[in-house]
Symmetry: C2
Subunit: 345 residues, 2 copies
DNA sequence: ATTGGCACTCTATTCTGACGAGTGCTAATC
DNA sequence: GATTAGCACTCGTCAGAATAGAGTGCCAAT
C-alpha cells in the first residue's frame, strides 16, 4: 500500500531526530537545532538542503516561510513504521496491575479497569472493545408471566451472561403453560447454539402443540435479537477529558466532533473494527482513519486474544503528536494482559 | 434563606430588561440601550443612577469601568424567583413526543430518549435520574449451576427487572439441590419484599436443611446487594457536547472539570439529590450548587412522579446565561411527561 | 427626583517598527 | 560532486502608540 520514498540514512536519521524533537516540545524544528541535536557532524546549511528534499517528498512541512519544519502524516507514518525505537516497559509494572486485576469476578468490571489503566498510563483516552463471544450457546431459558399479555423471557447464554426481555403475546399464558414451554426448550436444546435452535424449532413447528406455537415463535424471535446484540460490537472509553489538556485540541468545533464520535461510538467502532482482523498492532495517524473529525488525532490499537483467538481490540486515542515510543508498548502489553486475564477465568 | 433586597418597581423592571437583554446577546448592557429598551420613559442618566444602586446591592456588576452591567448570581436569583415570565410551550409539542415515546417497552430506553429530548429542546445537556423503586419485591428466583463451585443466581424483582450475579459456594451443588432451594424461596416468598425475606430467612435458619444453609446465606447476601444497587442513584446524560458551543465554556480547565463531573456522576448526583425531596422545580445558579467546577453553569431540575410519588429527578445543565424562560417550561413539562409515561406502563 | 452635559476611563482595533528565527540561494571550499 | 559559509529575504511575534467607541460618574440645571 505504501510507496515508501527512498531516502538515505542521513535523511532518515535527521527525520527521526526532527520528529522526536517535535513530539517532545511541539515547536517547529529549525535547521540549527537539528544540526546540533542530531549528533552527526553536519552544518545547518546541509540540514536545510536535506529538509528541502524531505519537504518535496511530503514528509515534513513548514507552517510558514521562516519557521522550522514539522512532520506531516506521511512523515509520522515513515517514522512509526521504520524509524521508531520503542522503550520497553519496566517489567514489573504490568505485574502489579495483573495482581490487582486478577481478583475481579465480573468481566465488565475488568474491561472498565483496563480502559482506565490505558488512559492513566498514557494520559490520553483509553478504548477497550468488549470481547465478542464466538458462539452463543443456550444454557437455560425461563418464562415468567407478567400482568396482562406480557411475558418476561430470561435467557442464560454462554454460562454466565443473562439476557432478558419482555414479549407481548396474543393471550395471557398460565404459569404452567409457560413452564412446559421452558421445560421443552431446556431439555431439547440446552448447550446448543441459538442459531441452530432457531432453525430446528422453526423446522419442527408442526410438531409443537397449537397453543404453544406463538410462544415458541416469540422465543425464537428473541433468540434472534440476542444473537444480534451479542454480535453488536461495543466499547468502553475512559479518560476522554485527558484530551482536553492538549493544545492541539483547542479548536472547540473539532473537540466537539471528537467527543461526539466517542459518545456515538459508530465511527470509532468502525476504526476499531479495521483493527480486529489485523494480526498485530495498528496505528492510524491523523486523517488516515478516514474521518475528518479525527484530523489531529492518532489511534493506536492492538487486538487481544482469549485462548489464541482474537476476541476484541483495545487501544488509545490521542493527539497525532504523541509519544509513540511509550504508547505503543503500553497498548501492546495491556492487550496481552487483558487476554491472559480473560483466559484464566 | 434569602434576604431579598427591597427594590422598587422601576429598578426591578430595569433589572429584568437588563438580564433579558444580556441573556439574549451576552454583551454587557449599557445605560443607553436600557433606557431605550425598557419602554419606560427614563433617560440614560437615570438608568445609570439605578444601576449604581443595583450594583451596591450586588445584583449587577460591571466587568470594567466603562462597560455596561451584567447580572451577578444574586441578580439571576432575584430574576428567576420574582421577575421571570415563562413562555408556555405550544400545547401540541409535547403531545407529539408523548405519542412517539408511548410505544416503548423498555423503561431504560424511555429514560434515554427523554434525556435526549431535554438536550435537543434546550441545546444543553439533559439529565435524567433513573427512577428509584420504592420497594424491591421478589418476583422469582432461580439458581443455575455453573462449572466448579460457582452458581448463577437470577433474581426477578418488581415484575420486570432482572438482576443476576455469580456466587461462589463451598462445594458444587447439583441442579436438583438448587432447584429445591429455588422452589422453597419462590413458594414462600414470591411477591414479598426482599428486606423482609432477608429477615425471615435468617430468623428461620435452623429450620433449613443443613446442606442448603450456605446457599441460603449467599442468596440473602445477594438480595442485600440487589437492594443496595437498586437504591444507588444513577442518571443518564445526553448532549454534553452541546455545552462546548457556548462561549462561556471556552476555558478548557473549567470545561474539563465539568465533563469530568458529568462522567464521574458523584457531584452531579449530589446536586440532583438536593432536588428530589423538593416539591417542585429547583434552579441552581452558578456557584449556588456548591461546586467550584460549575461556576459558569446553572442546573434546572424537576422531580417526576409515578402515581403521585416522586421517584426521580430530571433536568438540564447549561451556562448560567441561559434562556430560563424557555428552559423552565421544557423541564417542567418533560417531568410531567415522563411521569405519566412511567405511570401508564 | 430627574435630566443633560462633560470629563474621564477603559477596551478594542489598527498600525508601526524592531527583533529574531529560519529559510533559499549562490559562491566558495573540500 | 558534496558540503559549507554567507547573505538577502520572509514571516511571525511582540511592544508601543494612536484612535475610536462605548459607557460611566458626577455636577449643575430643571
Amino acid at each position: 500500500m505504501s510507496n515508501d520514498p527512498i531516502i538515505n540514512d542521513r535523511a532518515q536519521s535527521l527525520l527521526k531526530t526532527l520528529i522526536e524533537r517535535y513530539i517532545q516540545d511541539g515547536q517547529p524544528v529549525g535547521s540549527r537545532i537539528l544540526s546540533r541535536e542530531s549528533g552527526m557532524n553536519v552544518s545547518p546549511a546541509t540540514v536545510r538542503n536535506v529538509m528541502a528534499d524531505l519537504e518535496d517528498l511530503g514528509l515534513v512541512k513548514a507552517p510558514h516561510t521562516s519557521a522550522g519544519r514539522i512532520p506531516t502524516v506521511r512523515g509520522y507514518r515513515l517514522f512509526v513504521d521504520n524509524l521508531l525505537t520503542v522503550r520497553p516497559l519496566r517489567g514489573n509494572v504490568m505485574e502489579r496491575f495483573r495482581d490487582e486485576l486478577h481478583r475481579l469476578d465480573d468481566p465488565e468490571e475488568l474491561i472498565d479497569r483496563v480502559s482506565n489503566l490505558l488512559s492513566s498510563m498514557t494520559r490520553m483516552a483509553g478504548l477497550v472493545m468488549l470481547p465478542r463471544a464466538g458462539s452463543v450457546q443456550l444454557k437455560h431459558i425461563e418464562f415468567l408471566p407478567l400482568s396482562g399479555d406480557r411475558v418476561l423471557v430470561i435467557l442464560v447464554v454462554n454460562d454466565q451472561q443473562v439476557q432478558n426481555r419482555i414479549i407481548h403475546t396474543d393471550r395471557a399464558y398460565t404459569q404452567s403453560e409457560l413452564q412446559q414451554a421452558a421445560n421443552y426448550l431446556n431439555s431439547e436444546f440446552a448447550g446448543r447454539e441459538l442459531d441452530s435452535i432457531r432453525a430446528r424449532v422453526l423446522q419442527h413447528m408442526e410438531e409443537i402443540r397449537d397453543d404453544m406455537k406463538q410462544i415458541m415463535q416469540l422465543a425464537v424471535q428473541l433468540a434472534d435479537e440476542v444473537v444480534q446484540t451479542s454480535q453488536t460490537a461495543d466499547y468502553v472509553v475512559h479518560g476522554e477529558t485527558n484530551l482536553m489538556s492538549y493544545a492541539e485540541m483547542a479548536d472547540m468545533e473539532r473537540l466537539r466532533q471528537l467527543f461526539e464520535a466517542l459518545k456515538t461510538k459508530q465511527d470509532i467502532l468502525h476504526i476499531l473494527d479495521k483493527s480486529i482482523h489485523a494480526e498485530g498492532m495498528q496505528i492510524f495517524i491523523g486523517e488516515e482513519s478516514g474521518y475528518e473529525a479525527f484530523g489531529e488525532c492518532s489511534v493506536v490499537t492492538s487486538p487481544y486474544r482469549v485462548q489464541d483467538e482474537v476476541v476484541g481490540v483495545l487501544g488509545v486515542i490521542g493527539p497525532t503528536r504523541m509519544a509513540y515510543d511509550r504508547v505503543i508498548p503500553v497498548v501492546d502489553v495491556t492487550a496481552k494482559l487483558l487476554g491472559s486475564l480473560l483466559t484464566s477465568e
